[in-house]
Point group: C2
Chain length 342, copies 2
C-alpha cells in the first residue's frame, strides 16, 4: 500500500476515505481534519483560551498535540481520580500527561505555526488570565487536580458510599469530572473545554441513544455544547476521526499514552455498542462515520424537534458551589458530599 | 417451563415479555396483541373491508387467520411473481395460500366470533362491493393475480430488462407489488391494505433508515400509512410481534406456510441488519421491541419534524394507469412497460 500523495510506503489505509497515507502525510492530514471540524462546527478561534481535558489516553493527548500544532492556545487539565485497578491506573495516566508536557517543553511535540497572533494574544500577560505569571507564557500548562487530595476520597470510594454508585462507579465519575472540569475552566478563565471524544465514542453514544430513542439526549448530542450561564462551552474536535486513526497518529508522532482502559470500563454498554458498530463498519466501510455525520446533518436541517430542550426546567445556582443546577438546593455533585467533611 | 396462565407445559417463552405460554393461551394471546395494535394505531374497524397481502409465508397467513378469528372482514390477495429459484417458489407459495383458504372453508382455520355485526355489514351483498356475488358472502375470498399472465413477463424478466433491476430484482419487485396491491384494493373497493410485516421487519427497516438518518423515510415509517387520493390506507397489524412468535403461532395453529425465503433475498442489507439486531436482542431481551416502540412514541410526541413530508412534491394522476405519482407523465410502474406490448 502506497501513500496517495507521495507514493512512499503508507502507514495507514483508511477504507472509509479510500485513502492510504505515509507517516508524514498522515501527520499533516489529522490536524487538517481537526481544523476542518473546528471551523465547520464553529468550536473556537485562535483568540479563545482552550482547556483540554487530558486523561493520559491516546485521544486527549493527540488532541492537545494537534491543537498546539495548529497554533491554538490550549492548556491541559488532568483530573486524578484515585483509581488503581492493580496497576496504578491513575498514577500512570498522570505520568503520561506530564511526560507529554515535557516533550512539548523540549520541542519534540506540539510544535505549531509560530507567530499565530491570535494564540499569542490569548496567552498575552496583559490578558485577563490568572496564569499569566507562568515562566514562559508561550508554553502550554498542565493543570492537575487530585480528587482524593481535594475531597478526601477516591472515585471508587465515593461511588461505594452513595446510591448513584451502586454496582459501577462510572456514573459518579462522570458527574465529578463534569463538575470539576467546568469549575476549573470557569475559575481560570478558559472560554472553551475540549475533550478527546472521537468518532467511535460519539457514534457509540448516538447508537445507545438511538436504540432507545432518548429524545432529550438526541436533541443535545453534538460536537458543540454552547456555553450558558456558569457553564463553559464544550467541544469535541476529534468527532470526525476514527479511534484507530488517533492510535496511529500517536504512534507516528511518538506520543506515549496509557494503553490500558479504565479498569471499571469492563462490560460497559458503550463497549457492546462499539462492537456492533464495528461489525457494521466491517461490512460497509464508512458506515460509522455516515451514521454520525448524517445525524448531525439531519439535526442541522431541523429534523429533530428540540422543543424538549426549550421545555427543560429552569436552572438556578447551587447553594454550595454556585454552578447551575435544575435540582432544588444543592447540585448533584454537592449532594455527593452532604454529611462528609471535605 | 410452564404456562403462566394455567401451569401446563409452555410452547413458547417470550423473554422480552417475561412470559411463557401453553399452546392454547398463546393462540389467544397473539390475536389479543394484534387487536391491541389495531386499536392503538387506529388501523381499521370491523366495518372496514380489509385486503390482506398474502405471500404464502408465515406472517401474512398468520395475519389473515388472526383477522378472521377477530371477526374482521378480511380477504386475501396473492400476487404471482413468476419466481422459480429452482424449486417453484411462486407456485408453491400460491398453493400454500389456496390451502389456507380451503382450511378456512372447512372450518379448521380463521374461525372467529360469529355474528360480528360490523364485519357482516362490511360483507353484506347490499354493500358497494364487486365481490358481493360470491357463493357464501361470509367466507373470505382469495384473489390471485399473476404478473406473468397479466403483463407477459415474470419479475426476474422485467428486472433483467430495465435499469432499475440491475443486479437484483428486489426494487422492481417492490414497485410492482405496491402498484398492483394498490390497484386491486382501489378497484375492488377495499378501504385498507394489510401486510404481514412483523416487529423484526419493521425494526430492521428502521435500523437501516436510522443508520443513515434517512429523514424522509423516518418521518413516514409507522404501522399506518394514511389513505390519500388514489392510495388505500396501508396497515401493519403484526408490527409489535416478533418473527419467532409468528412462526410459533403458525406451528400451534397448524398453518402450513412456505419455509423458503425468496431466492433473491440472499445477501439483502435488511438481513445483515436483522443479524445485528438479533445480537442486540440476545444481549438485552426486548431491545428490538424497545427500539421500534420508543421510535413510534418519539414520533407521536412530535420529536421528528415532518416538514419534509409537507414539502414533498405534488402528486398527479399517471397518464396511463391513473394512480398518483410525482413523476411527470407516467408513474414508475408504467414506465417499466414503455415500448412493451402488454
Amino acid at each position: 500500500m502506497k501513500c496517495r500523495k507521495c507514493g512512499q510506503v503508507a502507514v495507514i489505509n483508511m477504507r472509509q476515505h479510500k485513502l492510504a497515507l505515509c507517516a508524514d502525510h498522515f501527520t499533516d492530514w489529522v490536524p487538517a481534519q481537526v481544523e476542518k471540524s473546528i471551523r465547520k462546527y464553529r468550536m473556537f478561534t485562535p483568540r479563545d483560551r482552550v482547556l483540554v481535558a487530558v486523561s493520559g489516553g491516546k485521544d486527549s493527548l493527540a488532541l492537545w498535540d494537534v491543537l498546539l500544532k495548529l497554533g491554538y492556545c490550549a492548556d491541559g487539565l488532568y483530573l486524578g481520580l484515585g483509581i488503581d485497578g492493580g496497576f496504578g491506573y491513575s498514577d500512570e495516566s498522570q505520568r503520561k500527561c506530564e511526560a507529554f508536557v515535557k516533550s512539548v517543553e523540549s520541542g519534540t511535540l506540539g510544535i505549531g505555526k509560530s507567530g499565530n497572533q491570535g494564540a499569542r494574544e490569548a496567552r498575552s500577560p496583559d490578558s485577563h488570565s490568572p496564569d499569566s505569571q507562568t515562566p514562559d507564557p508561550w508554553l502550554p500548562k498542565l493543570h492537575t487536580l487530585s480528587i482524593p487530595a481535594t475531597y478526601g476520597e477516591s472515585i471508587p470510594e465515593v461511588a461505594g458510599r452513595v446510591q448513584r454508585g451502586r454496582g459501577k462507579p462510572c456514573s459518579v465519575c462522570g458527574l465529578i469530572k463534569r463538575h470539576e472540569m467546568n469549575r476549573f475552566a470557569y475559575e481560570l478563565g478558559y472560554s472553551v473545554l475540549a475533550t478527546g471524544h472521537n468518532l467511535d465514542d460519539e457514534a457509540a453514544v448516538l447508537f445507545g441513544n438511538t436504540m432507545t430513542w432518548q429524545v432529550g439526549y438526541l436533541a443535545r448530542q453534538g460536537p458543540v455544547l454552547p456555553e450558558s450561564d456558569g457553564f463553559a462551552r464544550k467541544v469535541k474536535p476529534l468527532c470526525r476521526l476514527y479511534e484507530r486513526e488517533m492510535a496511529a497518529y500517536c504512534l507516528v508522532r511518538g506520543i506515549d499514552y496509557i494503553y490500558e482502559e479504565c479498569p471499571y470500563s469492563f462490560g460497559a454498554t458503550s463497549i457492546a455498542h462499539k462492537e456492533l458498530l464495528a461489525e457494521l463498519e466491517r461490512k460497509s466501510p464508512g458506515a460509522k462515520q455516515n451514521f454520525y455525520l448524517s445525524f448531525l446533518r439531519a439535526k442541522e436541517n431541523g429534523f429533530l424537534n428540540d422543543h424538549h430542550q426549550e421545555l427543560s426546567p429552569l436552572m438556578h445556582a447551587c447553594e454550595r458551589c454556585g454552578q447551575p443546577t435544575t435540582a432544588p438546593g444543592l447540585c448533584a455533585f454537592c449532594r455527593l458530599w452532604v454529611n462528609v467533611k471535605i
